[in-house]
């Protein structure tokens, strides 16, 4: 029996750490004798058939292990491929988003619909009134130019001036 690690051990010295010298000597002697008893009654050895059976079982177990390793590798490869596909798809989406023109951010105080609307007059009541009055003045100037009101031309001009002043003050008052 090979006693590689046990040979390095001094049983007596080891026991002396816990008991007195005499007791340590006795313990070492007890161990020597016990080992002698065990050596004098060697245990039976396994039959050749048993060891042959074990070797064949090992061969099967190794085969199983190889199959499992292959399966694990295949699964790993599939997982890595799936990860690449997901990352690729996400990258493409991200790039597409970046290449699109940036949208204008509107201040929340002005509604987006009004900001974008071409028809300013309809968006604001004051503006609508003002526009109507301008239209009216335009018509009146046109009428003057055409000489529709030939009798009292200066009166009309004064009236117009008064209207302008009134509109101006109303507009700035809001």
């Amino acid at each position: 029996m090979n006693k590689r690690s046990q040979n390095d051990e001094d049983v007596k010295a080891l026991f002396e750490q816990f008991v007195n010298r005499e007791q340590a000597e006795q313990a070492a002697e007890d161990f020597r004798e016990a080992e002698q008893i065990l050596r004098s009654y060697p245990a039976p050895e396994p039959d050749d058939e048993v060891t042959a059976g074990i070797k064949s079982q090992i061969a099967w177990a190794l085969l199983d292990r190889k199959e499992n390793v292959f399966k694990r590798k295949a699964l790993k490869a599939v997982a890595v491929a799936a990860a690449f596909i997901v990352i690729g798809a996400l990258s493409v989406k991200l790039l597409e988003k970046q290449s699109q023109p940036q949208e204008t951010v509107y201040a929340s105080i002005i509604p987006r619909a009004i900001w974008e609307s071409e028809d300013i007059a309809s968006d604001d009541v004051n503006l609508a009134t003002l526009t109507a009055e301008i239209e009216q003045i335009k018509d009146e100037i046109l009428a003057l130019q055409l000489g529709d009101d030939g009798e009292n031309g200066s009166g009309i001009v004064e009236e117009l001036e008064m209207e302008f002043i009134e509109i101006s003050s109303d507009f700035w008052k809001g």
Binding site: S5, Q6, D30, E35, P44, V50, I54, I58
Partner: protein, 176 residues
């Protein structure tokens, strides 16, 4: 017994899944492990099964061996296998007891008990409790140092020394 370098080479081969290297491991350790199981169970057929289980487990677990004392690692697995066996034996005993009660029959233990087939030493070992018996067998068959046995059992070396000393003294008493 393989030299340290040979053992390292064999273990490396085993890790790579080389059947020949496993076969060499079986040749090196089967006798000692069989002796360990036989002295603990006292039955050849059970020792055969436990030995097979040990080496199949070795194939599954060799990747987890990260160096250090190989014997310590191997006998730790052997010890776990033995404890699993003890647990299943307890379960089997309980099952038998339940069956006995259910049938209300006088079922006696088989006449050819373990003792009849065991040698003289085995009879004496059977008188020791399982833990004491295992401690002696670990020391003798695994060839581990006291320190390694203590580490394996996760107990202070003083405790291991004291238990082992009580065990060998008991064995000596039984022999007298």
């Amino acid at each position: 017994m393989a030299k340290s370098e040979d053992l390292t080479r064999i273990i490396t081969g085993c890790k790579k899944g080389n059947a020949e290297c496993f076969s060499q491991l079986v040749d090196i350790y089967s006798r000692r492990c069989y002796g360990y199981f036989y002295r603990l169970t006292g039955r050849r057929e059970i020792s055969d099964d436990l030995l097979s289980e040990l080496f199949v487990k070795l194939v599954q677990k060799i990747g987890s061996y990260k160096g250090g004392s190989f014997e310590s690692w191997l006998f730790r697995i052997a010890s776990n296998i033995f404890h699993d066996y003890l647990r299943s034996k307890q379960r089997y005993k309980k099952l038998l007891e339940v069956q006995k009660k259910q049938l209300e029959s006088e079922v006696t233990e088989p006449k050819h008990s373990e003792d009849d087939r065991a040698d003289k030493l085995q009879k004496e070992l059977n008188k020791l409790d399982a833990d004491t018996r295992e401690l002696i067998m670990l020391r003798f068959y695994s060839q581990l140092s006291f320190k390694e046995i203590a580490e394996m059992r996760s107990e202070p070396i003083g405790t291991t020394l004291s238990k082992l000393h009580r065990a060998v003294k008991r064995l000596r008493e039984l022999r007298e």
